[in-house]
């Protein structure tokens, strides 16, 4: 006897149904794929880099020598280059990006907000190799000709760390840490501006209206009301930008100078993990220590960016919940 239609269980009543079961299982499987991909990246990088970790131990992270001929690989120069360029880039890009975001949300004429906002988002979509090329052909010669000599003569008074770090005193060769940081800054600028603008826009209008009703200026409403309300998300946007700068390859590889040694100034040619991986890969044969070293570097980069991105997402999510 068949159940009358009126008594057929509704959704939620757990009754096997072929269509719904396959539907659920296939969607669940797709969700599982996401998690599997992330953990296999971690596992594959670790397994591939194991030879490097075994050979050098902790020295792989702390070693400063990188010599393919003698097969001695220390990743500290690449790690230093990665962190220095990313943090410098963020220090340049964040104030400007925040300024753009504040301008777009508060002071910009309403008619211009839409088009300018779209322009910022479009610029964030330009492929990174275009930034790299521009840096190589336009920015690097300009830096060598004008900016670097000026930096050297202006900041000559900063006391150097003898035999280690000379800040802005170095031959003006154009490529190097500072040029790479600038290119990275220009590249993440629209990205930071767009995410920060979204965060500022998420502030409830009532809060701002309250501040204005009390006679606050726009700047006071920003620092006194908006920023405290969305502080977590603002940091989230910063970390998101940092995550992007850490792993960027093509914008950096053109202008970093690709010298895998400890930088002795902010203008020295250097290398980042991503640039080393991209540059040294063609010479790395499967099964050799050379390739294991690159995968080991990849593992380090993945762990670092995972941490940074996880912090970013947690900060951004906190706000979304409340």
């Amino acid at each position: 006897m068949t159940t009358p239609a009126a008594h057929r269980p509704l959704i939620g009543a757990r009754r096997m149904h072929l269509g719904d079961t396959t539907f659920r299982i296939s969607l669940f499987a797709a969700g599982a794929v996401v998690i599997i991909v992330l953990f296999s990246i971690l596992a594959i990088m670790f397994a591939g880099g194991k030879l490097a970790f075994d050979t050098f131990g902790l020295g792989f992270v702390t070693g400063t020598e990188w010599n393919p001929v003698t097969q001695i690989y220390g990743a500290l120069p690449a790690i230093t280059g990665t962190l220095l360029t990313a943090i410098l880039a963020l220090m340049i890009a964040w104030p400007i990006g925040f300024g753009i975001a504040f301008f777009l949300t508060e002071t910009c004429p309403v008619k211009l907000r839409g088009p300018l906002g779209v322009a910022v988002e479009l610029l964030a979509a330009i492929p990174s190799i275009v930034y790299g090329m521009w840096g190589f052909f336009v920015l690097a010669p300009f830096m060598a000709e004008y900016v670097q000599p000026w930096l050297t003569s202006t900041f000559i008074w900063i006391p150097p760390i003898p035999d280690a770090f000379y800040w802005f005193t170095a031959p003006p060769i154009g490529v190097g840490l500072i040029t790479a940081s600038l290119i990275l800054a220009i590249m993440i600028l629209p990205f930071i501006a767009a995410t920060t603008r979204d965060v500022l826009l998420s502030t409830p209008q009532l809060l701002k209206d309250g501040a204005y009703a009390m006679g606050a200026t726009r700047w006071e409403s920003l620092t006194g009301v908006v920023i405290p309300a969305v502080r977590g998300s603002l940091f989230g946007a910063v970390f998101l930008g940092l995550g992007r700068a850490l792993g960027e390859t093509m914008a950096v590889v053109f202008v970093i100078g690709n010298a895998i040694r400890m930088p002795d100034s902010l203008m020295a040619p250097s290398a980042t993990i991503a640039s080393v991986v991209a540059n040294s890969f063609p010479e790395a044969e499967p099964g050799t220590l050379d390739l294991a070293v690159l995968l080991g570097l990849g593992f380090i980069l993945f762990v670092v960016s995972f941490g940074v991105l996880a912090i970013a997402r947690l900060l951004l999510r906190q706000e979304r919940m409340s």
Partner: protein, 290 residues
């Protein structure tokens, strides 16, 4: 009206001044940013437009002096991006549907959402290394298929995120109505929710295509690049970003000029895709308001 005391007038002036100065600085920041980025676009077009000839689209890459073009790189990019989107987009859509319609706020769905957000901004160079290890090394060589696979892995989280976001905009009443008419769970999603969100999902796919079209780093490890005409997915395959990378670093002015032209083509393509995606997004936003 009571006169303000000199002290409060001074304070009022200071507050106004600070506001004006900071607002001015922010406007200047916007100016600096736009000028810089405008400069990049202008250099790109002024250097790229000169090399734009028919031979760029009809001839394959060749030795300097042999009137080479980028035809094989353009076709290679189209194949890899197309295949990458064909693998990555449906998978991403399924993840998005899972998050929005089935998993919702469950533990597992929260983890999937979190991990997907991380994959969304994971360094693409590592995706390349990963696919090299799982596909290129075991299969014994670089291939267009491996390139497409790495692009698919980059497209998937983008599509997943936009699909989830757009499905959440579909009014709950649509689902309730479908259930009230006796629809099964899978029918609700397939026949009511997805059609309502179609153009929004298309937006996500277009954005993902725009993103992977410019990806260079992962292709270095997977499809490697090829100077000859090849549409064989099991062989190394040329792509526009890789061609730009190789040519930009070359000492031949002819190749450098082709690199600029290629960079211009990619940028125009990416911007057009982004603008198109805005139109389809506007369409869905308008519909859900009406």
């Amino acid at each position: 009206m009571k006169e303000l005391s000199p002290a409060s007038r001074a304070r009022y002036f200071r507050r106004q001044l600070l506001d004006r100065v900071m607002s001015g600085l922010c406007m200047a920041a916007a100016g600096v940013g736009l000028v810089l980025l405008g400069l990049i676009l202008w250099m790109l077009f002024s250097n790229g437009i000169g090399g734009l000839k028919l031979s760029v689209f009809t001839n394959s890459m060749a030795q300097p002096g042999a009137d080479g073009g980028l035809a094989n790189a353009i076709v290679g990019s189209l194949i890899q991006v197309g295949l990458g989107a064909m693998i990555g987009a449906p998978l991403g859509m399924m993840v998005g549907v899972y998050l929005s319609e089935v998993g919702k706020e469950s533990k597992f769905a929260s983890v999937v959402r979190f991990v997907n957000d991380i994959l969304l901004s994971a360094p693409s160079v590592l995706i390349g290394l990963f696919v090299y290890q799982i596909a290129v090394a075991p299969m014994g060589g670089f291939s267009g298929f491996a390139g497409a696979l790495s692009l698919a892995l980059i497209a998937m989280p983008i599509v997943a995120r936009t699909t989830e976001d757009i499905l959440r905009l579909v009014p709950q009443a649509y689902r309730d109505g479908a259930v009230a008419l006796g629809s099964r769970e899978n029918e609700v999603v397939r026949k009511v929710v997805l059609p309502a969100a179609f153009s929004g999902i298309l937006t996500g796919v277009l954005l993902a295509v725009a993103r992977i079209a410019g990806e260079t780093a992962p292709l270095l490890f997977t499809s490697l690049g090829n100077t000859n005409w090849s549409t064989d997915l099991t062989q190394p395959m040329a792509s526009l970003p890789i061609a730009i990378y190789r040519y930009a670093g070359s000492p031949y002015p002819e190749w450098v000029s082709l690199a600029w032209t290629g960079a211009m083509l990619i940028t125009v393509g990416v911007l057009v895709l982004n603008i198109l995606s805005r139109f389809s997004h506007a369409a869905v936003a308008g519909k859900s308001q009406g």
